[in-house]
Amino acid sequence: MINIQEVIETNEMILHENLDVRTITMGISLLDCTDSDLDRLCDKIFRKITEKARNLVSTGRAIEAEFGIPIVNKRISVTPVSLISGAACRRPEDFVKIAKTLDAAAENAGVNFLGGFSALVSKGMTPADELLIRSIPQALACTEKVCSSVNVGSTKTGINMDAVRLMGEIIRETAEATEDSDCLGCAKLVVFCNAPDDNPFMAGAFHGVTEPDVVINVGVSGPGVVKHALETVRGADFETLCETIKKTAFKVTRVGQLVAQEASRRLGVPFGIIDLSLAPTPAVGDSVADILEEIGLESVGAPGTTAALALLNDQVKKGGVMASSYVGGLSGAFIPVSEDQGMIRAAERGALTLEKLEAMTCVCSVGLDMIAIPGDTAAASISGIIADEMAIGMVNQKTTAARLIPAIGKKVGDSVSFGGLLGSAPVMPVNRYSCREFINRKGRIPAPVHSFKN
């Protein structure tokens, strides 16, 4: 039988260490909505999403109340829109109309974000893919809840450098189109390599074509819980450190598993995966950077940061996989700058640079995330940063991503602020030397030799 110490431990995690379930994300296939008429397509999309997600938010709230565990976000991911709209869309404006439909559906369902305004172009772009990508700046400027992602590379296909070049321009245009809101559009736009089909986290969530009609994926969190646990083993050896992280990750993930099973049962929708990611928020005490500093760094960004993060990421996975039979999505430690007080602090005092963040992305999920760069950064340089990040993912057979925010009209020393979970970010310096001639080359970077496994 459960004893009082165990009950106190669990409730301490919830009340004082920010333990929560970060998101219940319902994946909804839109493959059966295809139509050659744009109005009919939008009508089918709206009806399918609102029908399937009708009880998502109320079910999430009921689970929160019964188990006493906060479920911070209820969200929806849909089939990458470029796959279902080729017959109906002839111009970027047509895709903007679909984005508005998705926004209205998300509003109707009561969720805070909907992901899947996406294109998968790791080897090449169809006309629909390219039109969708070109519509992104306007689509994100005129919607509130829609998130967009573009997969431009994979270990099996290499990197589509034409798409990388285009995305550099699109990110700049998105920033310009949303300049009034501190370039918020870019916070809702991710460029991926090896994007997973079942990621529940935004802004990169979409419902892959290998998924069932509807599915429930759950993202757990808990950096504050890990930080607190590590406070009790200060100065201990690596074995003790690793054991402590594993045990904590196990406990955190079990809560996610419980919520996922309950949500799946109550909604009558199959359970997909638990995403084990340590996802920080701007709240004090909910920071991945704080964990790294607790492990022994004066500041995140100091020598040793990459090794500490590698250890953390691995132990989180080892603890988490015991807790759930179906682990997927991104699963690792997130290192967004704007969404993590410790990362913001380190960037502001110059301890954390773009280059160090890039190194850190080699050993964790997901990538260069929520990083504000100077507003005058050239599109080619943005493409260069994306290409570097995609190369890390391609060669290391892992997911990597770039969510960069060119802060229009701002320079190093200024900051952008989005509020809520998206937080605020100091503008970080970018290497000022050009990569224009490299980026202007046409075609693809071939897949690495170790991808030929057949």
């Binding site: 459960i2 004893n3 009950v7 106190i8 669990t10 019964e66 006493g68 079990r254 809560v255």
Partner: protein
């Protein structure tokens, strides 16, 4: 039938258990086990209860008990046992 765990945390004052037990009796909730401890100067009490005979849902009781807790200056939670089982039992 799954159990419901009720916890009370706060400064120890007269009548905490009486208040909570009165509420549970009024709602036909059977208390199966009670334990308490003082941790870092705070009073912690845990009750394992069977709510099968109650007309209220766990969420409704959690809401009521939260209000009672704020009246007497303690924090009261009411959660289904599963969350603790999942976290602490393999």
């Amino acid at each position: 039938m799954k159990k419901t765990i009720i916890t009370v945390t706060g400064k120890d004052t007269v009548g905490i258990i009486a208040k909570v037990c009165t509420y549970l009796a009024e709602n036909n909730v059977n208390i199966e086990d009670v334990s308490q401890t003082i941790l870092q100067e705070f009073f912690h009490m845990m009750m394992i209860t069977d709510t099968a005979g109650s007309g209220k849902t766990t969420a409704e009781m959690a809401d009521d008990l939260k209000k009672i807790g704020s009246e007497i200056g303690v924090q009261i939670t009411c959660q289904r046992e599963d969350i603790f089982d999942m976290m602490h039992r393999i």
